[in-house]
Symmetry: C2
Subunit: 418 residues, 2 copies
């Protein structure tokens, strides 16, 4: 076990103007890898405070990850302050200087005096160079590893994942490789998920599990250590399968694929088209589906029927159904799904009608009552839910549940046709 | 000028599992009030580290704001650690104990041993009691003000705004009151906004201005100090008016009122109804409009016409228009707006058609080309935009711009009819 700390610098952070992403990202990654972060400190652009903190950190930590202040402008003070604190002279890294000149020339950006500052580093620094303008560097000092990373989150993350994490894993005595996978789940609470995981034999040892609530989903990160990347990928597959066995349909898949993309892929594979009829979700399902590039291949369109007139005139909901059962009823949901399917000439029609609140509830149909219907060429299925939360939460839960119902249906159809 | 620091504690923070909101909130509020926060430190639930940090902070800061670890469970270690570090005995606050017993009894929640821990405080603590289960407390020690606040953000914020900020303002020699207002702007960059503000005489002195990018909007916080709350409200009104004079239509209004609510209020006041025809936004405008409670009063519904068939069959877009000008054209946008208006029998029809990318662009119509049309009983207006960014950014900019066009139109109509 080694432990260290993270320092994030920037006037925009200490003034609360911008949220810190970098320190949190590093903390999460290190925690997942079983490496202890004892503290995170956020400072403004104050060299004296930074120097003092750096010296203190050197005395108590095995590693220090520092983000921000590496650029070419006046308020980028980290390099000079670090060199002063560590008693190291600053030198131009000639190889980096040449690389930067070439980089700018290729882009026809004129070379300025201040660009040179990007290559001015403390003696002994190892350049971490992802190939753009922003580089980082690593130092060893009094047995402590120091990593200086740029403040732009994408650049920071690339260097952290590619260099800092592997070298700290090695320092931690884990002279091997680490592999991680984050899985999305929907329809299970964090507590339930923890209980399920505790019961799975495959999860007993050799795997770190992190839980990250991501409303309305729950995400779970698996971290495994070993010597061989392929072997670790197989271990992650085995763990994923073991979890899938227990939670079955509640496992959506890997983090990088949102539910709307998962559904989109399935529709594309099955050669099916989809139309929507949204009431309480107001367009949120359409928004999510169309956030996927290429969704026009399978998503034909939708109707947001906020008033009853639209339900009758456009979706051909039977006016008697509306009168007898109400706009929020299984019967209306059913007619809406059929109507959407017919209107757009789609294979599938998905409909949602419900009461998002805060008004509109009744003892029989309280706020949060939602009906979801899915019309296929063969049948219409209707589901009834009672969601809790405010208007926003009920909309989000309704949209997620509708997409998830569609996903499960498509999965089942594929499974039964194979 | 006084300066101090913020300490946020919690295993969920140091593991990166949950983002810190509290420290950032306190930092932002203090910065706006002209009080310097020198550092923010995040720790896990580690009493030795906390005690060490607290002693160090006592030696260098005039105030310390501490959040988290005040609850009744095992991992709530802040009170005991602070008492030990400060050498203060712990006492039950009898008044608080009685209040808590009464609070739980009223809600028929059984009193548990651990609830008593909520009233166990260091000697000399002044209870900050918002009336629920979670309280905070304040201490003076060696001339330093310490504020202990609960970790739940809503509770933390209430106590911070109601007690911590005013008492630090007073400590800062500003024995008066502070008033703040955050304004939303759209259609102006942060740099442009800074330049505009620099030119306004009213902003020369006596006001702190903070800039907060909030894509696609820019927010600006005004902070004024004085002796009289009513006087300050007038000052804020005067500053708001001065800014409005310069940026005119780009000022949306106060932070607490999102654009969709602003538009909704105007529609309601004018007694007008609205229908949508969304193409590239895919339902996002409908989603935003329906996130406002009571939106069914003026929002009748919309069509998400992702395919051309839906544009022709439902929105009655002339097939020849589609053939001659294409789905992304001012002519199609115009027909869509008219179609939506007619289909739902609404007073106004708002339509968006564009290319969100990454595919679908051409030299004449590159990715980001968006047409927005607004049909009223009298006319149809069409606007042409070229937005930059990825698919998500283009969708967000399109939806915001469409709502903003509607807002400006309604404002103008009201102005001209007065």
């Amino acid at each position: 076990m080694i432990h260290g700390e993270i320092i994030a610098t920037g006037a925009e952070l200490i003034s609360g103007r911008v949220a810190d992403f970098n320190a949190r990202y590093a903390a999460r990654r290190l925690h997942e890898a079983g490496i202890t972060v004892a503290r995170i400190t956020i400072l403004g652009d104050e060299p004296p405070l930074f120097r003092e903190l750096l010296l203190r950190a050197l005395a108590r930590s095995r590693f220090i990850v520092i983000t921000g202040g590496l650029g070419a402008t006046e308020d980028d003070l980290t390099v000079a302050a670090a060199a002063e604190a560590l008693g190291l002279p600053l030198h131009y890294d000639e190889a980096l200087l040449a690389r930067l000149r070439h980089f700018l020339a290729e882009r026809r950006i004129p070379w300025l005096e201040r660009h040179g500052r990007l290559a001015l580093l403390p003696e002994g620094a190892v350049v971490l160079d992802p190939g753009g303008l922003a580089c980082g560097f690593a130092l060893k000092h009094d047995g402590v590893r120091l990593f200086f990373l740029p403040g732009v989150p994408t650049e920071m993350r690339a260097l952290f994942d590619g260099y800092v994490l592997p070298s700290l894993m090695e320092l931690a005595g884990d002279a091997g490789v680490v592999a991680q996978r984050t899985l999305r789940l929907f329809g299970i609470s964090e507590t339930q998920l923890q209980e399920v995981v505790a019961q799975i034999p495959e999860f007993r040892e050799g795997v770190n599990v992190g839980y990250y609530p991501n409303f309305p989903e729950n995400h779970l990160t698996l971290t495994v250590h070993g010597q061989d990347r392929q072997e670790l990928a197989k271990t992650l597959d085995r763990l994923t399968a073991a979890l899938a066995r227990e939670v079955n349909d509640l496992l959506l898949g890997p983090e990088e694929t949102p539910l709307e993309e998962l559904v989109g892929r399935q529709l594309q594979e099955d050669g099916l088209t989809l139309a929507l009829a949204e009431s309480c979700t107001g367009g949120l399902i359409g928004h999510r589906l169309t956030s996927v590039a290429g969704s026009s291949d399978y998503f034909l369109g939708g109707v947001v029927s906020y008033g009853n007139e639209a339900k009758v005139d456009l979706l051909q909901v039977d006016p008697e159904v509306l009168t007898q059962f109400g706009a929020v009823s299984p019967e209306t949901a059913r007619d809406m799904a059929l109507g959407a399917r017919g209107m757009f000439g789609a294979d599938l029609g998905l409909a949602v009608t419900g009461i998002a609140g805060p008004g509109g509830g009744s003892p029989e149909k309280p706020v949060g009552t939602v009906y979801i219907a899915l019309a296929t060429p063969d049948e219409v299925e209707v589901w009834h839910y009672l969601f809790h939360g405010n208007r926003e939460a009920i909309k989000i839960l309704s949209a997620e549940t509708a997409l998830d119902r569609l996903r499960r249906k498509l999965k089942k159809t594929v499974a039964s046709s194979q």
